[in-house]
């Protein structure tokens, strides 16, 4: 089913706001991970503003969908979405990474309303998502469990332990999303530690796989809606993305995995994000 232009325009605007928040937050904090936060901004916008069944007035309701951000360092994107959804006040974003803040450097389920799992040590989130899906099935709760995995994170052996377990237990309410931007802190994945063939790996572990452009809302939403129809298998969306998406000097530069911005860089980034939004909204010819 085609997604309406109105919805695409709304999501484009939200993704743009998330990107601006990411830049402002990390600039304020003086440290953080812009590259991998920007690369999931569109996926996060689609999840929080179209897909997830969640309620900001009741963040722990039992039958909500769960989201585990296994690549926890990209949490600024999620914090922004949660604030836009009303889980907490917008001005909390300024406190990222400060002492006493509800917004820790990596997600903390006990400090931030709307965070379903404490993550940050790569490799553990998918296993936790497996546990959630097993538990929800025992309770006969029909919720989905989404888990966002970094592409470098697939180098962790525990990801494949979890992948094996999810298929063994036929967890068809579990949808993993790989943020496939092909860069990690030390450089290009094919130089640091190649994980290809990624699609074949997930297939051979018993998962249903779809590969998409992770910056195209039509593809993200259509793919997830389609994956929900597949039974008896866990599913994974391989989302091809660009690290640092929409900020020209950050795009595809590994250094921006975990580098804070100067004031000038911040200003330029915000400007480029606005420009990118305008481009996206131009009607296709």
């Amino acid at each position: 089913m085609k997604i309406s232009n109105k919805k695409i325009s709304m999501l484009t605007h939200i993704a743009s706001q998330i990107r601006k928040d990411i830049i402002e937050m990390i600039w304020n904090a003086g440290s953080g991970h812009p590259g991998g936060s920007l690369s999931i901004a569109d996926i996060i916008a689609a999840l929080y503003f179209d897909i997830l069944n969640i309620d900001s007035t009741n963040p722990t309701k039992k039958n909500r969908d769960r989201l585990v951000l296994s690549k926890g360092h990209a949490c600024p994107a999620v914090y922004s979405a949660l604030s836009l959804k009303g889980f907490f006040e917008r001005d909390k974003l300024k406190t990222l990474r400060n002492i006493g803040s509800i917004l820790q450097g990596h997600p903390d389920m006990n400090k931030t309303p709307g965070i379903d799992m404490t993550t940050g040590s790569l490799g553990q989130g998918l296993s936790a998502a497996v546990g959630m899906a097993l538990g929800l099935r025992l309770e006969n709760i029909d919720s989905y469990v989404f888990c966002i995995i970094g592409c470098g994170e697939m180098q962790e052996g525990q990801i494949w332990e979890a992948a094996m377990a999810a298929a063994h237990y036929k967890l068809d309410k579990l949808i993993a999303i790989v943020d496939y931007n092909r860069l990690q802190i030390d450089g290009r994945m094919d130089e640091v530690m190649e994980v290809e063939p990624v699609v074949m790996k997930w297939l051979s572990f018993g998962w249903y796989v779809i590969e998409i452009n992770g910056h195209d809302f039509n593809q993200i939403i259509a793919a997830i809606n389609f994956l929900k129809l597949i039974n008896k298998k866990p599913k994974v969306l391989i989302a091809n993305t660009i690290k640092g998406k929409s900020v020209s000097f950050m795009e595809n530069v590994a250094m921006w995995h975990g580098t804070p911005l100067s004031f000038d860089q911040k200003e330029r980034a915000i400007e480029e994000i606005s420009k990118y939004e305008t481009q996206c909204k131009k009607p296709a010819i």
Binding site: S121, Q124, V130, G131, G135
Partner: protein, 317 residues
């Protein structure tokens, strides 16, 4: 039969049986194992409640994080494997996915200590107390006999938060009556004496009781304390008997670094500094042995060693 005083079951068998009873009473209890269910005794739960038992295969790290996920949706997971794997291979998962978010997961680790026997150093967890003790938010339980095992497994199922339970492989003789009551965080005084206090845990407690009797026949009167909860340490009891007897010996089937001896030393050094003799495995890996007694002798943690160390300690202090 669960309790047979003449022919006791091992603490891990008592764990498996108790788990089945708890499973009947509380439908939220789920059990995970990493292909060692026959040994850890979780197979008993699997036979009774197959839908609530998850074998995660030989993948301990995944098992511990899956348990964390189950806890987030309101389940009470008991995850079991050998203590060497729970405390080292799956350590970071235990730390970051369970202890840090304070999730309600019970890690019941069996085959702890030098006592396991033939498997040798790779399987002998003699560092687990030290390792787990340094992690915030997690309670460490170390039962000494079938009754304390049963009662403490029940107690932790009602406590909301992360717990690590250390169980051995071989049966331990009964120390307590079947109606004895146990509380998380509370030690037990098994025997009172005035010259010396022996603080012990797990499989060594019974040996300390025997050593205390031998010491008695030699004119040395000793208190024996069973430190059933290692963290949080029962500081009140330690302080009280440090003051009463002025001499403390700790005994454990664990490294002399960072275990029970470490916990008692850390506490007393800042509250009531007296000399402490720490008896345990002396900063060395284990080795294969035909039976636990041979290993206890080899590593000098048997009854006679405790007696000898106690006599020397009192003579020179």
């Amino acid at each position: 039969m669960k309790h047979n005083v003449k022919n006791p079951l091992s603490n891990r068998e008592i764990y498996g049986i108790t788990l089945c009873e708890l499973g009947e009473e509380n439908k939220d209890i789920v059990v995970l194992d990493a292909d060692l269910s026959k040994s850890t005794n979780t197979y008993r739960f699997k036979e009774k409640f197959p839908e609530r038992f998850f074998n995660m295969g030989i993948a301990e790290a995944n098992m511990i994080s899956v348990a964390a996920g189950l806890a987030t949706v309101g389940k009470i997971p008991f995850a079991s494997t050998f203590s060497v794997f729970a405390s080292t291979r799956a350590l970071e998962q235990l730390r970051t996915s369970i202890a840090y978010p304070r999730l309600n997961v019970k890690i019941v680790a069996t085959n702890a200590g030098i006592e396991i026997g033939g498997d040798g150093a790779t399987h002998q967890a003699i560092e687990d107390i030290a390792i787990i003790r340094s992690i915030p938010n997690i309670i460490i339980i170390s039962p000494s006999d079938p009754v304390s095992t049963e009662k403490l497994i029940r107690a932790i199922s009602e406590y909301n938060g992360p717990v690590y339970v250390r169980l051995g492989r071989w049966p331990n003789p009964y120390i307590y009556n079947l109606n004895e009551k146990f509380e998380i965080g509370k030690a037990k005084i098994i025997k009172e004496g005035s010259d010396l206090t022996i603080i012990s845990t797990g499989n060594m407690v019974n040996k300390c009781v025997q050593a205390s009797e031998i010491l008695n026949s030699k004119g040395i009167s000793s208190t024996v304390i069973d430190m059933l909860t290692i963290k949080p340490l029962d500081c009140d009891i330690v302080l009280e008997y440090a003051k009463k007897t002025k001499h403390i010996i700790t005994v454990e089937d664990h490294s002399i670094i960072g275990g029970l001896g470490g916990a008692v030393s850390e506490f007393l050094s800042t509250t009531y500094p007296i000399k402490i003799k720490v008896i345990g495995i002396k900063d060395t890996f284990g080795t294969s042995g035909r039976n636990p007694e041979d290993l206890f002798n080899y590593f000098h943690i048997n009854t006679e060693d405790i007696v000898k160390e106690a006599e020397l300690f009192l003579k020179f202090n």
